[in-house]
């Protein structure tokens, strides 16, 4: 049970002057229950790859297997795939359309053919999971703040109960508190329901803090695919790709250079704090 991406290529605007080779020979295996972070400079192909995983874009060549089935097979139902692989777009609040929040979240489950009652139950559950205040359930989605809209949009996908959840920069344009809330919620989702989660992000600190594995994309290729610790040990290469390591990595490197014996591969703030305390002999 997993997603396998096999020699995937995608070209935008093929046969025109402005053809863009957005994905080049992508190979991937995504086992169940993993929390994966995808980072890369703007235009590196992150969103394009994510749209392939639920069949919104069809590869120019190569293929994708979901649970052992080729999703490009003639008789494969892409609509089913989309109910298993949920995708939350960059700035998802632009897709809200119903008169009130609750009905908007019901849209997904209703499309799955669920009865009104089941759809409402799922919507309720999803809105609770994203921590959306109950007194706002029946207001218009257009009257909400940016962060609230974002939660509603994520709930709209969660209500379909996908096995794999893809979030394309879910924290873009939110304040630090909103970012932490959303990422914390995503992490707890993964812990509680064992969902596979793919998180696209520009913030190394966010990714380092939460994920099990990191994919680094560069010019349509996968440059690194490893656990955070190993990926962030390639600071120079990352900087060449216009990326950076988490802030703690830089601090630890400087401390190391200053002759203090710290573990410079720590990636989260907590790990860093403990290794620094240790170096100074404080428990």
């Amino acid at each position: 049970m997993a997603i396998i991406v096999d020699h995937l290529n995608y070209i935008y605007g093929q046969d025109t002057e402005q053809a863009v080779h957005a994905l080049q020979d992508i190979n991937l295996q995504i086992p169940d229950g993993q929390f994966i972070g995808i980072i890369g400079h703007t235009g590196s192909g992150k969103s394009t790859l994510m749209q392939h995983l639920n069949g919104l874009l069809k590869a120019t060549s190569g293929t994708i297997y979901y649970n052992g089935q080729d999703i490009y097979d003639e008789d494969y139902k892409l609509k089913d795939l989309r109910s298993h692989v949920g995708l939350v777009f960059q700035y998802p609040e632009h897709q809200l359309f119903e008169a009130d929040v609750f009905s908007d979240v019901c849209f997904g489950p209703k499309n799955l053919g669920l009865s009104k009652k089941d759809a409402e139950l799922r919507a309720f559950e999803a809105l609770r999971k994203v921590g959306f205040p109950e007194e706002l359930f029946y207001t218009s989605p257009f009257d909400l703040s940016g962060g609230q809209k974002r939660r509603v949009a994520i709930a709209g996908v969660l209500a379909m109960k996908p096995d794999v959840l893809i979030l394309d920069e879910p924290t873009a344009g939110l304040d630090p508190k909103g970012r932490e809330d959303i990422l914390g919620m995503v992490k707890s989702l993964q812990r509680e329901s064992g969902m596979t989660i793919l998180l696209v992000s520009h913030s190394m600190d966010d990714v380092a803090e939460y994920v099990d594995r990191i994919l680094v994309m560069d010019h349509g290729r996968i440059a690194f695919d490893d656990i955070p610790r190993n990926v962030f040990s390639h600071v120079e290469e990352l900087e060449e790709m216009h990326l950076a390591a988490p802030q703690v990595t830089y601090i630890l490197r400087d401390l190391e250079k200053a002759g203090i014996d710290v573990d410079e591969n720590a990636t989260t703030v907590e790990e860093a704090a403990s290794t620094i305390l240790q170096a100074f002999g404080i428990k």
Partner: protein, 275 residues
């Protein structure tokens, strides 16, 4: 998906036609289109076709790219051909079952198809070689004389410029929202007419909301930069005729004289003999 429409789009490259003053192109296109409806014999069409081919070569726009945009009007073209072919009365050419094809019908179908193709290629040649900004600049300056009868020429040109500018943005937005709703299990393709119309709601509502939001932002941005209409407004790059523009006018005139002379030969001779 929706991005494949090329009619009315600009094609970025460098050519004489691209550099030409938009007023020349506007007037030229207008005259060319009118001329297509004045011909009465093949010679006229031959000249018009030759002129078009010359312009296409000059524009450096790949012919394949132009044709791709014509797919959308294929239906209209087919219907025109079929109607003219089967519904024109005259001397019978072939006849089978309930269908008869007449000589006149065949002639009419061919000329109409030719006319339609040249019409569309001629018009799209203008938009392919002129940026929307340039086009509206040309319109504004070319139609300035209408100000005398209190036509708000500048305002109309500005509205056109904004509308043209927004087309690609709205297409992109439609694509995005469509994908987002597909990801939520929406189905735009199956079902009867009513179901399909209903399925458009999740697409249209966000699209309108975003269009209004954009319009609002734009109005605000324009006001913040003290935009107050066309009065007393100067241009950074005013349109000034260059030598090539006068040359183009001359070529246009030559085309008109030759094509009308040839295309209406029969009418002329009649006129002359009657004198």
């Amino acid at each position: 998906m929706i991005r494949d429409i090329t009619i009315g789009q600009y094609y970025q490259t460098d050519s004489v036609l691209h550099r030409l003053d938009p007023r020349v192109k506007l007037l030229g296109t207008l005259l060319y289109l009118v001329s297509l409806f004045c011909f009465h014999n093949p010679a006229g069409y031959a000249v018009a076709l030759l002129f078009l081919i010359l312009c296409i070569r000059l524009s450096h726009v790949p012919f394949g790219y132009m044709i791709k945009g014509m797919k959308g009007i294929m239906m209209i073209l087919m219907i025109t051909i079929l109607f003219n072919l089967f519904l024109t009365s005259g001397t019978v050419l072939v006849s089978f079952w309930k269908i008869t094809i007449t000589v006149e019908g065949l002639k009419l179908a061919i000329t109409m198809a030719l006319r339609l193709c040249m019409l569309i290629i001629g018009a799209s040649l203008m938009t392919l070689t002129t940026t929307p900004n340039h086009l509206t600049d040309g319109l504004e300056k070319g139609l300035r004389f209408l100000k005398v009868i209190k036509m708000p020429v500048h305002e109309i040109a500005m509205m056109m410029a904004i509308a043209l500018r927004f087309i690609p943005i709205l297409l992109e937005e439609t694509d995005k929202i469509m994908k987002a709703q597909l990801a939520r299990g929406a189905d735009f393709e199956s079902g009867g007419l009513v179901r399909r119309a209903k399925a458009m709601v999740p697409l249209l509502v966000p699209l309108f909301v975003s269009a209004f939001r954009r319009a609002n932002d734009l109005a605000m941005a324009m006001e913040a930069r003290c935009y107050r209409g066309g009065d007393g407004r100067t241009k950074m790059k005013p349109l000034i005729y260059a030598g090539r523009d006068y040359a183009a006018y001359l070529i246009l005139l030559a085309y008109l004289v030759i094509s009308i002379f040839l295309g209406r030969w029969s009418v002329m001779t009649e006129l002359l003999t009657s004198l």
